[in-house]
């Protein structure tokens, strides 16, 4: 859907300092060249299958389906990937590309730590240096992931600027890239930032819907009625939607983090509360004040705690092709516990936002209908934080 210069309708673009322009142009050229090379795709597929454990399972959640009494619910198990989330899909693609470009160092931002862990993993595998920027607040919320990154050989830089969360980690990574470009690739973790990132990350994550499509056709002989995924920047959602975009019978539903509610200041629901703006290299929707100052957003989920949304989601919202709903902390935590007890699966708190939406939607649908929920990651990393949310004095 991206047109010239990486535009998605009015969204997207390349709003970055001149110092970085040459780097994104080189990246764009390298990506166009390598994506078309059969050897590159074969190498990436081998990494996906043999290293990351793809294809991920499409699991029929029978107990959840019976309990909710409506649509048949399938779970796309990205949580079963190596490193425990969908992030590895994008990272393997970008790390492979970076290596082809002769880069020897990967930098990344991370919120919940999943993208940082994935990047540190790929860097270890491919013998690259790795530096991960993580909001100070998030290094506390996700201490275990900080340890995992260090174990994998990465340097983790706690970011104290601004609100000390994902957006500040992202700004810090952009600043670092401006400082050191020659040997460094910025392995951006979502479908955001300047062109070519939203398109490139989408392409690497599109493996999710390519597999869902084949798997559901095999199991059910037809396409699903709805595909649900959580949305921060929106990479697992775009990946889950991409191959269904032409199929108007498939509802595409992105689940944003409402935090303490969209009518409170403690929210990260960009579509519900944001307006059009320009930030982090792209035009899209952002939570901001009347003077364009980016709002300090909040969600219990460090991975969804971002004030913007990828530009392709912005156009999918504009055209109505995808719907975006806001899910509160409380609903997400309920869903986190529900899925654990009902199916024996502990989802990431990010993914629990999509599960919460499915819990509401499924009972309103017919028993002959099908709903696919992408479980973008596993929830081990969240257990201590959720326990504390429930009032238990548990620390890692």
């Amino acid at each position: 859907m991206a047109g010239r210069a990486g535009r998605f309708g009015i969204h997207g673009g390349q709003y970055i300092p001149e110092t970085l322009m040459n780097a994104v142009i080189e990246l764009e050229q390298a990506y166009s060249r390598w994506r078309a090379a059969p050897g590159f795709q074969a190498e990436l597929t081998a990494l996906f299958n043999d290293y990351a454990g793809r294809p991920s399972r499409l699991y029929f959640a029978g107990k959840m389906t019976r309990d909710l009494g409506g649509a048949k619910i399938y779970l796309k198990r990205e949580d079963l990937n190596h490193t425990g989330a969908h992030k590895i899909n994008n990272v393997l693609g970008q790390a492979l590309l970076a290596r082809k470009m002769g880069k020897t160092r990967l930098i990344a931002e991370t919120g919940a730590g999943q993208h940082g862990v994935a990047t540190a993993t790929a860097a270890a595998l491919m013998d690259m240096e790795c530096v991960v920027f993580m909001g100070k607040e998030d290094t506390i919320r996700q201490a275990l992931n900080v340890y995992r990154m260090r174990l994998l050989g990465a340097e983790v830089v706690p970011v104290t600027e601004g609100t000390g969360t994902l957006k500040d980690a992202c700004s810090a990574a952009f600043r670092e890239w401006t400082r050191r470009i020659d040997d460094t690739h910025y392995c951006l973790g979502s479908v955001m930032g300047p062109h070519p990132f939203p398109t490139m990350v989408r392409d690497f994550q599109a493996v999710i819907s390519r597999e869902i499509r084949a798997q559901i056709l095999e199991k059910e002989g037809r396409l699903p009625d709805a595909a649900l995924a959580c949305v921060g920047g929106g990479s697992n959602a775009i990946g889950s939607f991409h191959h269904f975009l032409p199929d108007s019978s498939v509802r595409l539903i992105g689940c944003e983090a409402a935090g303490r509610g969209v009518d409170t200041p403690d929210t990260a629901a960009t579509i519900a509360t944001g307006k059009l703006g320009i930030f982090h290299g792209m035009k899209s929707y952002f939570c901001q004040d009347e003077y364009g100052q980016i709002a300090p957003v909040y969600s219990i989920s460090a991975g969804l705690d971002y004030p913007g949304i990828g530009p392709e989601h912005a156009i999918l919202h504009d055209t109505g092709r995808a719907e975006y709903v806001a899910v509160t902390d409380e609903e997400a935590v309920d869903a986190f516990e529900y899925l654990a007890r009902t199916e024996g699966i502990i989802p990431a708190i990010e993914s629990a936002h999509a599960v919460a939406c499915a819990k509401k939607l499924a009972p309103t649908m017919g028993k002959d209908q099908i709903l696919v929920v992408t479980l973008s990651g596993r929830g081990d990393k969240d257990c201590a934080a959720i326990a504390r949310y429930r009032g238990e004095d548990l620390h890692e």
Partner: protein
């Protein structure tokens, strides 16, 4: 001729930057008057942004202080309107795309023109995206300033040919902030730029000492200094005006010393 040409008519130009509203707008207003009297040839006025991705820690912190102290785009426009009653030095706003876009690009540029600002620098708007901002700037008599970085090698001709006002030559990789040494071959960069345009080139990023300013100005048409001045504002806050004026006087002498 652009108003900004005036800035380069008095020998090599010294161009100070400060973040409006740090520590408060009264101090900013007094500092701008004092800098103009001390010999500043053009003054860059930063409109604070919550997430200034091209800035180093010093100016980032100034942006936060200014926003916490209540600076807004409208209050800054009012300050410039007051300044323009007696200050004739060219004034250029420096801010981020979202500050302009969210205000309404036309409305923002109209206000700038009306209060007597001469130009606009948007570090997150490269050549590829300037078409969105430049028509409104031109309509209201503002020069949208283009930047050329050490990584711009293949883009110099394209950027320079369409540049207006002056060219902002970024001295080194990275974000704004004081640097011990500048290793980029500025002379060679300026030489390449001059093949494509006659407009002045001013060098910024990393300059703090009079020696650095003298060296950069000798290779170009002027030196831009931000973080070193913002540090003085941070150190002396509401008492910073005489310190800033003294610094500007020293730096203006330095740029014309070679």
């Amino acid at each position: 001729m652009s108003n900004l040409a005036q800035a380069f008519a008095n020998g090599k130009a010294f161009i100070p930057f400060l973040t409006c509203g740090d520590p408060d707008l009264e101090t900013t207003e007094a500092a701008v008057r004092a800098m103009a009297r001390a010999g500043a040839d053009l003054i860059e006025l930063g409109i604070p942004f919550s997430d200034p991705t091209a800035e180093g820690p010093v100016i980032q912190a100034a942006n936060q202080r200014a926003l916490s102290a209540g600076a807004t785009t409208d209050k800054i426009f009012e300050m410039v309107r007051r300044l323009r009653r007696d200050v004739t030095v060219p004034l250029v706003f420096m801010t981020y795309a979202n500050v302009v876009f969210s205000y309404g690009t036309q409305r923002f540029c109209a206000a700038c023109g009306e209060i007597g600002a001469d130009g606009l620098i948007l570090p997150d708007v490269p050549y590829e995206e300037k078409g969105e901002f430049e028509p409104a700037c031109r309509r209201h008599g503002l020069d949208l300033i283009s930047m050329i970085a050490p990584t711009s090698e293949l883009r110099i001709a394209t950027i320079a040919k369409e540049a207006r006002g002056f060219l902002y030559v970024v001295s080194s990789l990275g974000v704004t902030g004081v640097r011990g040494t500048i290793t980029t071959d500025i002379g060679a960069m300026v030489g390449k730029i001059r093949k494509h345009t006659q407009i002045p080139c001013a060098v910024g990023f990393g300059i703090s000492s009079p020696e650095q300013a003298a060296r950069m100005a000798a290779l170009s048409d002027g030196a831009i200094v931000g973080s070193a001045i913002v540090k003085l504002m941070e150190q002396y806050a509401t008492q910073a005006v005489p310190h800033v004026a003294e610094y500007v006087r020293t730096m203006k002498q330095a740029v014309n010393s070679r």
